[in-house]
Amino acid sequence: MYEFVTGPLAWLTFIVFFLGVVYRIVWYFRGLHWQMDRVAYNAHLKYGIKGAIRSIFLWLVPFGSVGWRSKPFMTILFFVFHIGLVVTPIFLQAHNILLRERWGFSLWTISDATADTLTILMIVAALFLVLRRIAYPEIRILTTAYDYLLLAISVAPFITGFIAAHHYSNYEFWLILHIICGEIMLVAIPFTKLSHSVLFFCSRAQLGMDFGIKRGGMKGTKFSW
């Protein structure tokens, strides 16, 4: 089983994930249209790129944008959740050992203690994200079962991975479950709202170009994101 989920199934997952994500990005940018979007992307590419980079960067930095600063509690939850989600799996020692065994290379790694901390914080943040959805009427009205499902898909690899790593019970069972959960998450990215992991950059770039070209950028004023 272990061989299967880390072998053919893993390959299939990576291929679907990679092709899906590339398709999403290509589809997005091919779908932009200067006249329909009313943004002269090509005519003023330099202004567009400047605006795009600014708009992505300021929203990637905690409290970098006026929007983030206006909602500090949400901002903390958001960054704790996403940093845990992205940093932990990529720089985890166990994952990099596997990477070296299989593909002959590895990245630099974080200590297991750091990984544990990030994981726990991420799970706690997810819990608060759920509570937020229940507690605030303005978020409750937006929330659907799909939102909870996506949150579950995102958190499952971390819960199972944590249990497996600490050998709390049947190691092999939790390890295989962890791998499958991780694969489900990766495959879900191109097909669900989780596609925002790449479309965030596309969408922010587009609005950055919009403001960088049409809505002020060429008048010499920067939009204060």
Binding site: Y28, A40, G67, W68, G220
Partner: protein, 460 residues
């Protein structure tokens, strides 16, 4: 009854149709016909398939339902944080639902969509700047208004407004003759006070071609006289076109993209005919947005710019004060606390925030910023056509509260508002809430404060 005689999917292209609509007081018949208007679901879906491209589809799809847009919306705040006023909810429950159902929606649904698109969003685009994904719901509502318009679900006043643009090439029934007469009348009226004052019509190769809002010739002709006086004082070589003088676009508020194109092409035609160095737009926010910012795209100009450099009146004023073309008498500067209404259309959506501050630094001794301000300022409460629709008067009046509080918090009683829509909204909030505030365009204030050049001084 699939199509009414007044409420239908046709555009208003004849005077007869326009007059019939105008004769229907408050749109009584119009709205009753709307209740039976068929939705052409095939046409709707076809139109969505060909125009809903990756940007909008992605916005609809990836919205994480995080609720960060809620507080960004003045209508949400003004309505005691009513969850149904959350921008994401408003767009998901309308456009999102139409897309989900592949255009298969009924009359009742479309009427709900219309009411949402015109009474729960002014397309101020503030929410877009508070969304982590950059989902601009104001833009989406603009798109949705276009879909509604094409199906005949558009508020009565805006059906008329877009018809005015189609028939008169202006938002009101002001003909070329009316316009030219008004210019001549105003020049005559004021030339005794301002020797040599003229409003040159159709002068070629002028430095400035000045264009206005049809309300000015129709209801406030003094505004044109004031513009003339200031250009005259500044020694500008300027003109107005006899055709293509109207900058506004109720068609944009209505979502009638065909009429939008017709209207801006009229102005661009004047640019080609008169070959001015620059165009200056009057103190109107949406007019500038329509003709300078969005217009080039409707007209198919690939670089996204009008045929000649076009600036808003505030840009001209800042330049005239900066270069000393107009000199302010220091003794006559505004002494009392004064605040400035940042119009969404030329501040947030066109980047003129610094220009406005520069003007205030020349003319005001106690300038108070509203909070929030500049690109994060709230809509006046009357944008996007909201001021002009009887059906949504109450909702509009509720929406005004946020701006009123913002103004009162500055401690200033005078609001400078170089935008017709904001000006109206602020006038109405005083009428409704009696807060003791005053409001003004820049022009009358500048004339009072300016030192006239020697050759224009009239012997007392």
């Amino acid at each position: 009854m699939p199509e009414g005689t007044l409420c239908n999917k046709q555009t208003v292209d004849t005077k007869e149709y326009l007059n019939a609509l105008l004769a229907d007081k408050s749109g009584k018949q119009y709205y009753s016909e709307m209740e039976k208007l068929d939705v052409d679901t095939d046409k709707l879906w076809k139109s969505i398939k060909s125009t809903l491209r990756s940007r909008l589809r992605t916005w609809l799809e990836i919205c994480a339902h995080c609720g960060m847009c809620a507080d960004a919306c003045f209508l949400y705040l003004a309505n005691d944080r009513d969850p149904t006023q959350v921008p994401s909810y408003k767009i998901q429950s309308t456009l999102g639902e139409i897309v989900k159902r592949k255009g298969k929606v009924n009359n009742e649904f479309m009427r709900m969509v219309m009411d949402t698109a015109w009474s729960k969003c002014t397309c101020c685009c503030r929410c877009g700047s508070f969304c982590p994904f950059g989902i601009d719901m104001g833009i989406m509502f603009g798109y949705l208004r276009g879909l509604c318009f094409s199906q005949g679900f558009v508020p009565w006043e805006l059906k008329i407004g877009s018809g005015m643009h189609r028939v008169y090439k202006a938002q009101m029934d002001v003909t070329v003759e009316d316009w030219v007469d008004t210019c001549e009348w105003m020049a005559e009226e004021y030339e005794d006070d301002w020797p040599g004052l003229a409003i040159p019509v159709d002068k070629e190769n002028a430095d400035i071609m000045y264009t206005v809002n049809a309300r000015e010739p129709k209801h406030y002709p003094e505004d044109i006289a004031e513009a003339a006086i200031l250009f005259h004082m500044a020694g500008e070589n300027w003109t107005v076109p006899s055709k293509g003088w109207e900058e506004t676009s109720l068609a944009m508020f209505a979502g009638d993209w065909g009429a939008c194109k017709m209207q801006v092409e009229e102005v661009y035609g004047a640019m080609h005919r008169l070959k001015p160095k620059r165009m200056v737009v009057t103190e109107c926010g949406h007019a500038y947005r329509a003709t300078v910012i969005e217009g080039p795209y409707w007209a198919g100009l690939k670089d996204g710019r009008p045929p000649v450099e076009s600036i808003h009146y505030v840009e001209w004023v800042a330049e005239a004060l900066r270069t000393g073309k107009i000199k302010i008498d220091p003794a006559k500067k505004i002494k009392e606390p004064v605040t400035y209404q940042d119009s969404c259309n030329y501040i947030r959506n066109a980047g003129l925030k610094n220009v406005a501050r520069e003007i205030m630094s020349y003319i005001a001794e106690d300038f108070r910023e509203m909070t929030p301000n500049r690109e994060h300022n709230f809509c006046c409460g009357g944008g996007g056509g909201f001021n002009g629709m009887g059906r949504y008067r109450e909702q509009r009046n509720v929406g005004l509260k946020v701006k009123l509080d913002q103004i009162l918090d500055t401690g200033a009683k005078l609001v400078i508002s170089p935008c017709h829509n904001c000006w109206d909204a602020i006038r109405d909030m005083e009428e409704v809430y009696h807060a003791g505030i005053r409001w003004s365009f820049l022009k009358p204030l500048l004339i009072k404060m300016a030192i006239p050049p020697d050759h224009l001084k009239v012997e007392e």
